[in-house]
Structure formats: structure tokens, C-alpha cells
């Protein structure tokens, strides 16, 4: 496998798409949408936080100890703190889902457009389908990274601007965020994020290769919904997961590769209060890594056959025969 050509493809996809209108709108527009959602989220979470403290799910004393370490705080700030505690994973989950959504659409459209214009014929006389697919995934991972960095920067800026307006000094907010996002948690976030991203990107590339040009142009994109729906699930179940982060539901969702990244982000956000058993983090990561590996291999196979078929979308039984080749 020639790394250099994979990088060439990645560079091409990155440079060509970073200038595209679609990238600019999603990168700038989506934060606005997230902002809207997260203000709703913040409102919901402040309610659920009240519920949570009523059930004394969170160790108030422990929280207060953390607060004292980070500076002088009145007890009303605990509400704020709980809100942040829930806002952080929601924001990350949103970022993850939106950036995946962007990639799914871009990878699908990119692959289909190459099929439609038959450029793919030219490409495959130079590189293997595997190199083409890995290059695409890498290129879009780079785009996703840029996007996430932009969004995090925007989120931080908003925190620092609006926090003081609400009467919370900026240094205190930073201290609070760091309390809930210590480095080891941040590292795990990045890890889950990246793995989840690779998993989704591999599936999208394979999907794109199996989709007929006409089907995509006529808007029959059922396949992309198939990938995205399960990713959204943990977000809909946010309250249940946060309230019982070590329950059966949370555990199951942590083991399914589609839902694992978002679920684990939520569970890790309340790590300080209710630690996630190490074996669960380990198992979740192991399953996710294996699934990424498997998805890459299978997607590569489907991609290499499907990419040269121009007509109708492939059926699942056809894909099955390709896999067994």
C-alpha cells in the first residue's frame, strides 16, 4: 500500500473541498444551529439538573469540594456547574453528529460524482480502489478536524463573551470547563470522536460506491439516513443516559459502534461524579476499534467492486456476493 498516493488523494479532497461552498456553509451555519439547540439543551439540562440534585444523584459535597478548588463560589453556581456538565457532552455530541453528517454527505456525493463523470476510471488506472478510499477518508477526516476546531473555537469564544455578561467571570468558566474536561477525559473524547468518525466515513464511502448515479440524483438517499439515525439515538436519550450513566441502556449503547462515541462522551462528562467502570471504557474502545478495522476492510471490498458499476444502486444481496469474493 503506497502511503504517498493515499496522501495525494487526501490532499486533493481536503484542498478541493475546503474551498467549497458546502464546507463554508456547514462550518459557519452549523454553529448557529448548535447555538440554538444548546440554549434549549441548557434550559432542559438545568431542569434535569434540578431533578438530579433532588434525587441526590450527584454528590453535592463532592461537587462543592471541586468548586472550592476552582475558586470562591456561591451555592447558586452549582446550578450553573451542573448545566455546564450537561452542556459539554451535548455540544460535543452535536459537533460529532453534524460533522459526521457533513462527511457522510460529502463522501457520498464525491464518490457518486466521480462515478458519474467517470473520472474514477482514470483514477483506478493510477491507484488501487483501496488507496482511493483510504485517501478520501483521510482527506475528510482532515476537513472534519478543521471543522471541529473552528466550532470549538467559536464555542469557547461564546463562553468567554457571554459568561461575563451573565455575571460569571471568564477565568471561572475556564476553570469549570477544565474541571469537567480534565486531560485524560479530553484525550478519551478525541479518541472516541476519531474512531466514530472513521467508522462512519468508511461506511459512507462503501455506500457511495454502491449507489447508482441516478438514484442519488433523484434523491433516494435512504442509505445515508440508515447510517445517521442510530447516531442520533443517544442524543434523544440524553436525559436517561445522564441520570443513570452506568445503567443497562447506557452500557448497551456504549457497545454498539454507531452509538458508542456519543454515549461515551455523555458518560465521561459525569465521570467525576459517577466513574465509568474502566472495563466498560476498554470494552467499548475494543469493539469500536475492531469495528473500524472491519468496516475499513469490508468497505474497501465493496468500494472496489461497486465503484466501477455505474447503473442502479446495488442490492444488499449483490453486496454480499462482492464480500465473499
Amino acid at each position: 500500500m503506497n502511503m504517498k498516493t493515499i496522501l495525494s488523494v487526501a490532499k486533493w479532497e481536503f484542498l478541493q473541498n475546503i474551498k467549497s461552498r458546502r464546507f463554508l456553509t456547514t462550518t459557519v451555519l452549523i454553529p448557529m444551529i448548535i447555538l440554538g439547540f444548546s440554549s434549549v439543551g441548557l434550559w432542559i439540562s438545568s431542569n434535569s439538573a434540578r431533578v438530579a440534585s433532588d434525587h441526590s444523584l450527584f454528590d453535592r459535597a463532592a461537587l462543592e469540594r471541586i468548586l472550592q478548588r476552582s475558586g470562591q463560589l456561591s451555592s447558586t453556581d452549582i446550578e450553573l456547574q451542573l448545566s455546564i456538565m450537561i452542556a459539554i457532552p451535548s455540544i460535543f455530541a452535536f459537533i460529532f453528529i453534524w460533522s459526521s453528517l457533513f462527511s457522510v454527505v460529502m463522501v457520498l456525493m464525491g464518490v457518486v460524482r466521480e462515478k458519474q463523470s467517470r473520472v474514477v476510471e482514470l483514477l483506478l488506472s493510477s491507484i488501487s480502489p483501496y488507496q482511493l478510499m483510504y485517501g478520501k477518508i483521510l482527506g475528510f477526516a482532515g476537513l472534519g478536524l478543521v471543522q471541529v476546531l473552528v466550532w470549538i473555537a467559536i464555542a469557547l469564544a461564546l463562553f468567554l463573551v457571554f459568561g461575563p455578561l451573565l455575571g460569571v467571570p471568564a477565568p471561572l468558566l475556564v476553570a469549570l470547563v477544565l474541571t469537567f474536561m480534565p486531560w485524560h477525559i479530553f484525550f478519551l473524547y478525541v479518541f472516541f470522536f476519531a474512531l466514530g468518525y472513521l467508522f462512519i466515513a468508511a461506511l459512507s464511502a462503501a455506500m457511495g460506491a454502491t449507489m447508482g448515479v441516478e438514484d442519488v440524483l433523484s434523491g433516494q438517499q435512504l442509505q445515508s439516513t440508515l447510517i445517521l439515525m442510530p447516531m442520533m439515538l443517544p442524543l434523544m436519550l440524553l436525559a436517561q443516559i445522564i441520570e443513570n450513566p452506568n445503567g443497562a441502556l447506557a452500557l448497551i449503547l456504549s457497545l454498539v459502534p454507531f452509538t458508542a462515541p456519543t454515549t461515551m462522551m455523555m458518560r465521561l462528562a459525569v465521570e467525576a461524579q459517577i466513574p465509568v467502570p474502566l472495563w466498560q471504557i476498554g470494552l467499548s474502545l475494543t469493539i469500536l476499534i475492531s469495528c473500524v478495522y472491519l468496516a475499513m476492510k469490508l468497505a474497501g471490498k465493496i468500494f472496489s467492486v461497486g465503484i466501477l458499476l455505474y447503473g442502479k444502486s446495488a442490492t444488499f444481496s449483490e453486496m454480499w456476493t462482492w464480500l465473499r469474493r
Binding site: Q16, S117, R118, L122, S125, L308
Partner: protein, 304 residues
């Protein structure tokens, strides 16, 4: 004779349809090799197997410059029949990208691309987007993409289709220039006049199988007929009873006919001179066009 490519008994099947069914041939370095056949005969599948885009179900494809049985893809160039480029990308970006996939350094690719564009009189389009170009211009860009990395072996699939006569001639000249530089060219085309002009040897395929394989001369000798045009004084009616003559068109002062297979031209001429006063005679081998049509008809319509 040394070989740059040897294809041995390759087979490829798609969902029960035999696209290529046991084809063998070899290509010598520096020649222009013609791959002919009707639409759906299996040419594109064969080309894709040669270029490693498809793996043959059976048989093998060997390049003399392969490393451990692996084809270094930067040593081959390809102008696909199904043409397309990134519509909304710049020519410069596209050419440099495609060159980078063939391991050409950007500065060198740029320099070569500009030289080729100059040759094609397209220099001013270097920073334009592909969709601003006419079909013919896009075809030129694709030709450049297929040779920018200066490969020793180039596959041109229907390079002339969709071009006006002026550009067809340009492409013919380009192929001759490639040949002069020592590049081996595998040319697939339906333009028989260009195939006759350019190709040293030919493989004709139909229904996934090789029908004819050899030099142009050999093929014309074995599969062509002698077309005779005669102008004369005297009574030409005896020609009607000569069983060595086929497809006779007899007029007052001239006749046109085909010699039956196996009839020697010189023997025929000797027998002709006595009863007739010949004013003018021309004998030509069948054009490749006719041989192609006859052979394809006699071997059946393509299965796909």
C-alpha cells in the same frame, strides 16, 4: 521478438456473462498495437484487466517492467473510453493531481503540462475550469493526463471518437510522436483508416475471443481479397464466365470485381492479357474496414 506485454489466456465473467473468454496476445516494445472489435466485444474489459483495474478470473497479464508480478501503475497511461474530468476544477489542479497519483513531482508536472498545452494550443486555459472547455478540448486534457508521467506503455481507448477531422489528425500525429519517442501504444479504435495508418499489429476480438491476430499485412493477405479495377478495349463479357471472379460489375469499357480466395494475382493477369487490350488496371487489398465487417459478421453478433 521481445515483449513489453504478454497476455495469456485471460478470462473474465460478470454474472454469468463471459466478457472475455481466453484471449492471448503480446505487444512488442515501441509498436502501435491495434485492439479492434465491435461494441460489446470485451475490449474495455480486456483493457481494464491489462491495467490492473480488474483481476482476471483466469490467465495472466505480464508486463516486462512489472516488479514481482505487480504492475507499477506509474509506468502505464490510460485514456479511457468513458471520458470525464472534475467539471468544476481547474485544468492546472486536475492535471497536477492526476500526475501526483503517478508519482510526478509538482514542479515537473506543471512544466510538462504547460508544454503539452502549448502543443495543443490550450495554454490560456491552464487556470480555467474544466466545464468551460468544449468536449474536444476536454479530450485533449485527458490525453495529456494519460501521458504526462511519460509512461513506456499507453492505452488509448477510442481516442478519435467525438473529434472533428482536424483534431483527429492532431491525435494521429500525437500518437506518431509517442511512437517516435519509443512509447508503446495500445490503440483501440473504430476508425479503420487511422488503424491502417498507425498500427503495426492488430488483435481483433469478438464475443470475448480473439478472431484475428497478426501484422496488418498478414491479416490483409489471409482475410482480404484482391479488388480489381480494369479499363479495357474489347469484349469483356467472357469475364462473366470466369469462376475466379466474384462480385463483377461489368460496363462497356471498364469492370470492377474481386478475385476469389486463393487466386494468384500474377496468374490471373497472365490469363487476362490475351483477350483484352488493357488500358488501366489497379489491384488493391480489401480495406481493413471490409475485413473487420466480414470477420465480425461471420463470427456472430456480440453477446452483450
Amino acid at each position: 521478438m521481445s515483449e513489453i506485454l504478454r497476455v495469456t489466456e485471460v478470462h473474465k465473467q460478470f454474472d454469468g456473462t463471459r466478457a472475455v473468454n481466453g484471449i492471448s496476445f503480446s505487444v512488442s516494445p515501441g509498436e502501435v498495437f491495434g485492439l479492434l472489435g465491435p461494441n460489446g466485444a470485451g475490449k474495455t474489459t480486456l483493457i481494464r484487466m491489462i491495467l490492473g483495474i480488474f483481476q482476471p478470473d483466469q490467465g495472466s497479464v505480464n508486463f516486462s517492467f512489472a516488479l514481482n508480478g505487480h504492475l507499477p501503475k506509474d509506468k502505464v497511461g490510460y485514456l479511457p473510453e468513458e471520458r470525464g474530468l472534475y467539471e468544476d476544477r481547474k485544468i492546472s489542479d486536475t492535471l497536477l493531481y492526476l500526475a501526483s497519483l503517478k508519482q510526478v513531482a509538482p514542479e515537473r508536472a506543471r512544466e510538462r503540462a504547460l508544454r503539452w498545452l502549448e502543443r495543443m494550443e490550450l495554454t490560456k486555459y491552464f487556470e480555467r475550469r474544466v466545464r468551460e472547455l468544449s468536449k474536444g478540448m476536454q479530450q485533449k486534457i485527458q490525453f495529456i493526463a494519460s501521458v504526462l508521467h511519460e509512461p513506456p506503455f499507453v492505452v488509448l481507448d477510442e481516442p478519435f471518437s467525438g473529434l472533428d477531422p482536424v483534431n483527429q489528425d492532431l491525435f494521429r500525429d500525437l500518437i506518431l510522436e509517442l511512437k517516435a519517442k519509443g512509447t508503446t501504444v495500445l490503440l483501440s479504435s473504430h476508425q479503420m483508416n487511422f488503424v491502417e495508418d498507425l498500427c503495426d499489429r492488430i488483435l481483433l476480438v469478438n464475443r470475448g475471443q480473439a478472431i484475428v491476430y497478426g501484422t496488418l499485412k498478414e491479416i490483409k493477405k489471409t482475410h482480404g481479397h484482391d479488388h480489381v479495377y480494369l479499363e479495357f478495349k474489347g469484349d469483356g463479357r467472357f469475364l462473366q464466365s470466369d469462376n475466379r471472379i466474384k462480385a463483377l460489375q461489368l460496363k462497356e469499357t471498364h469492370a470492377q470485381f474481386v478475385l476469389a480466395p486463393g487466386v494468384s494475382v500474377s496468374d490471373f493477369l497472365k490469363s487476362l492479357s490475351s483477350p483484352l487490350e488493357i488500358e488501366q488496371i489497379s489491384i488493391e487489398k480489401s480495406p481493413l474496414h471490409e475485413i473487420f465487417v466480414n470477420l465480425v459478421k461471420s463470427t456472430g453478433a456480440p453477446s452483450a
